[in-house]
């Protein structure tokens, strides 16, 4: 059987809309799980050291906090672009203007790289700061 012809680029982008929406939801779920982990680990120490240090001061020394904050900010920035790409993909129909979809595609990938570099730099510097202030 001959291989199926490759669909047009914009049809492929239109077909990927559900996966793009799904990854937006997963990013939010990951952030909630990470925030829960930060609160759970801090509460654990609060229980051990009850009466000696406050929750907020322990939270500031929790090394998972920078990861959680960095993840939240970076994925908020990139999530907006991903949502815009998913919406553009959903609206792609025969005869629809292609320029906005091309722009959303390019803009998402540029923001994705910037957000990951920002997250990496933030987490490394925050961990270094926590290490030297210990």
């Amino acid at each position: 059987m001959p291989p199926a012809p490759t669909p047009s680029p914009w049809e492929s982008l239109r077909r990927s809309r559900w996966a793009l929406f799904a990854i937006c939801g997963l990013m939010a779920l990951w952030f909630i799980l990470l925030a829960f982990l930060v609160i759970a680990t801090t509460s654990h120490y609060v229980e051990i050291l009850r009466g000696r240090r406050s929750f907020s001061s322990l939270l500031l020394t929790n090394s998972l906090l920078p990861v959680c904050l960095g993840y939240g900010v970076a994925h908020y920035l990139v999530g907006r672009k991903l949502l815009a790409l998913a919406r553009q993909s959903k609206d792609l129909a025969v005869g629809a203007p292609l320029r906005p979809a091309g722009e959303a595609f390019s803009s998402f990938w540029k923001a994705n790289l910037r957000a990951h570099l920002l997250l990496f730099a933030f987490v490394v510097s925050a961990w270094a700061l926590l290490y030297f202030l210990r």
Binding site: T6, P7, W10, S12, L13, G102, H116
Partner: protein, 122 residues
């Protein structure tokens, strides 16, 4: 004098080409990251007796993530200014995103399995 009119499809392809460096950097980061994760997800269960049964799951997960990022890398390489291979690039992009939610979701049980002994103080 009027500027020459460009075809909307080739104009959109030229805009999409702007994503090529970012896609390639992210793809390389993903490939190297999943290579490192595969090594970790195999070595950690091998060194902890109770986690031995997760060795295969860890190896398969790492290989699955690596394979998904390989698609993204091929997508980036097919993006050209003239958009000659844009159809293949977008199809690979679609395939990458079809697998990305599963790669991301699989991290949860694997991470819990590895972190669980740590939570229990072992």
């Amino acid at each position: 004098m009027n500027a020459p009119k460009t075809h909307p499809e080739s104009e959109a392809a030229a805009i999409a080409y702007g994503a090529r460096p970012s896609i390639l950097v992210m793809a390389w980061a993903g490939l190297l990251g999943y290579l490192a994760l595969t090594v970790l997800f195999v070595l950690i269960p091998l060194s902890v007796q109770e986690l031995r049964r997760f060795v295969l799951a860890g190896a398969l997960y790492g290989a699955y993530g690596f394979w998904a990022f390989l698609k993204l890398h091929r997508c980036g390489r097919k993006l050209t200014p003239d958009g000659a291979q844009l159809a293949e690039a977008m199809e690979l992009h679609r395939q990458f995103w079809n697998h990305a939610p599963f790669v991301s979701a699989c991290t949860i049980p694997i991470a819990i399995a590895i972190l669980w002994p740590g939570f229990q103080g072992r």
